[in-house]
């Protein structure tokens, strides 16, 4: 077993309690350890991506318990890419939070940040459905703390809504997992894939209920249309650097849909036939549309960035819900782009908010207005999907993948029109904030009524320029990235390698299930724990 696989989970899990217990009153040391952890995570993620790039699937068996019984972490191309994305984003956000002084406005920012990273990494790496729930809870409970970081009435009220909404989602998740377990007797994703595929279509009524409940949970996380109401208020009222990190959380939902509904409830499995085609795509398109109109109608720049995140999630889920390898490759390309873009837009929104407050109106010219407006311009181009940045390529790929679909005219119309509306909304906001302010008569004794007049250091600009530079690099490297994405999509739709690798060891300690009750088992045992009786496949099915 390759122990590097578990490092992205263990490292923040060790750093976070260390920060709480040993460095509670030393903000400088907290920053050092937090950044060091993020840098190390990025290095680990690069190494893992390099290992996964050739298509090998690696399995890490926790406690050396073999696959269907113990919990496994699985590294394939998709999870490696998501881990790398999280690590890079985490590094950017923690640098910005330090530069802007956000991490000093409340207790335990860095510890919660590390716990959040731990939960996200675990959710991307795990190969067990219940373990996915546990990592969801880890990332959520850290996000509750980060969401209300800094305090304030509106933030607390938005925090209550956010927590309640997600607790309902967690309960639904448990109902879904219970239903799946009651039907199949397993929660390991690869084992679920095998069992679900074996079930005849006539016996799957309860299983289909479970599958839909699970989809609802992931749709809540991804902010799919009828379940998106939590997102604008939460993200706009959270500290905006935290919202920038939350940009990856909607992608956790999208990743879970992509993973579960290509591995377990794949479109070609009889149990899942006809479950999602009818409504997932329309819901995704409506998400893209409502996000675009939200961008146009926002009165505050935090809401503007939040609705921008919603419209990009809508485009992403449109690509995912087509369920073809080409569309999945487009989705994988777009997922990285939309995460960085949404994060950059949130950080730029924070720069504006720190200087003149969140309203999208003309106010006297703020400090660094020229540089911030240039950054906003670049981020807006990326968000709207105009050339030359990767948003254009991503949307083009999605449109191209939808060409043969029955609803192709709808996909094209909604994505193109919502892009246009997004351009209008971003142009309106940019004009009001950056341009009209130059025409105002500024009184001589004017003092900017910034709520937090703490001066932003150069670090904030370096971080945002770095994120946008990564987007530029991502556009230039579109060829190799697309080859990686196409290989990833091919893996997703040909799930044999994943299933076989995960379940390769399922019969390791007991050579023949029929001999399980004989004493010969002890002679075959080559590990200490193998002498304990383990529930084998036979007993699982005896229910």
């Amino acid at each position: 077993m390759n122990h590097l696989l578990i490092a992205p989970v263990v490292l923040p899990a060790l750093v976070a309690p260390f920060i709480i217990m040993a460095l509670r009153y030393h903000i400088d040391l907290q920053r050092v350890f937090s950044v060091a952890s993020c840098v190390l995570l990025t290095v680990i993620a690069v190494a893992l991506t390099a290992q996964a790039a050739d298509g090998t699937v690696q399995v890490y068996e926790l406690g050396n318990w073999q696959a269907p019984f113990g919990i496994v972490l699985v590294l394939d191309r998709l999870s490696a890419l998501m881990v790398l994305l999280t690590a890079v984003l985490g590094l950017g956000v923690v640098l910005y939070a330090m530069g802007s002084g956000w991490d000093e406005r409340g207790a335990n920012f860095h510890a919660l940040f590390q716990f959040q990273l731990m939960g996200i990494m675990g959710a991307f790496l795990t190969g067990d459905a219940f373990n996915l729930f546990v990592f969801f809870e880890v990332l959520l409970i850290a996000s509750y703390g980060l969401m209300i970081h800094g305090g304030g009435t509106r933030r607390f009220q938005a925090g209550v809504q956010y927590v309640v909404y997600n607790l309902i989602g967690s309960s639904l998740f448990l109902f879904a997992l219970g239903t799946l377990y009651a039907v199949t007797g397993t929660l390991n994703m690869a084992d679920l894939a095998v069992r679900v595929a074996e079930l005849p279509a006539s016996d799957t009524a309860i299983l289909r209920v479970g599958a839909i409940m699970l989809l609802l949970v992931f749709a809540i996380k991804a902010a799919l249309l009828p379940l998106h109401f939590w997102l604008p208020a939460s993200y706009a009222n959270a500290p905006l650097p935290v919202a920038a990190l939350f940009a990856i959380m909607t992608k956790v939902g999208a990743y879970a849909i992509l993973r579960m509904y290509t591995l377990v409830f794949a479109p070609d499995v009889p149990a899942a036939a006809g479950l999602m085609e009818a409504w997932l795509l329309p819901a995704a398109l409506m998400t893209a549309a409502i996000g675009a109109f939200g961008v146009l109608g926002s009165r505050e720049i935090g809401h503007l960035a939040a609705f921008g995140a919603i419209t990009s999630v809508g485009t992403l889920l449109t690509a995912i819900s087509l369920f073809t390898p080409e569309a999945a490759a487009a989705a994988i390309y777009y997922i990285v782009h939309s995460t960085f873009t949404a994060a950059a837009l949130f950080l730029i929104a924070d720069m504006v908010m720190e200087r003149q407050g969140g309203e999208i109106t003309a106010k006297p010219v703020m400090a660094h207005s020229g540089l911030i407006s240039a950054l906003f311009f670049v981020a807006a181009i990326a968000m709207a999907g105009m050339p030359p940045l990767s948003g254009f390529l991503g949307k083009l790929l999605v449109l191209d993948a939808a060409r043969d679909h029955a609803l192709a005219p709808w996909v094209w119309a909604v994505i193109l029109i919502s892009s246009l509306v997004t351009i209008l909304g971003l142009a309106r906001a940019g004009t009001a904030i950056f341009w009209k302010s130059h025409g105002l008569d500024t009184p001589e004794d004017y003092v900017a009524e910034a709520p937090n007049p703490a001066p932003s250091t150069a670090l904030t600009f370096v971080t945002v320029i770095g994120l946008l530079g990564l987007l530029g690099l991502y556009t230039v490297a579109a060829g190799p990235v697309m080859r990686y994405a196409e290989a990833t999509a091919a893996d997703l739709f040909d799930r044999r390698a994943y299933v076989e690798t995960v379940l390769a060891n399922r019969d390791r300690p007991v050579e023949d299930p029929n001999d399980a009750h004989s004493h010969d088992t002890f002679h075959h045992a080559d590990h200490n724990e193998d002498t304990y009786p383990q529930p084998d496949a036979q007993s699982e099915e005896s229910h």
Binding site: G150, F156, G178
Partner: protein, 116 residues
Amino acid sequence: MELLVASAIGILTAAGIYLMLRRRTFPVILGLSLLTYGVNIFLFATGRLVTGAPPILNKYAEVAYADPLPQALVLTAIVISFGMTAVVVMIALAAYLSAKDDNINMTHTTEAGEDA
């Protein structure tokens, strides 16, 4: 026993959903707790209902046993829901003390200026 467990899950879930749709945070949190109780019993029942059987296989005889996995799952779920309830109570208290109002909606009459 099946009827008892099934109706307990149903009543807890129904009461939980009803309370969650209320407007004040206290009933909403109570509703969330009831919903988590309901889901815990549901999880427990997914391993089939067996009475008086140990949750362990017997190597030497064919003895009835209870499925141990849902028991482990439900323990995890109880711990998580307990912690989450504590967190939501604290955040709701902070919101109540800060806004002098425990309405679950965002109140637009409070001074939003201090951090908006």
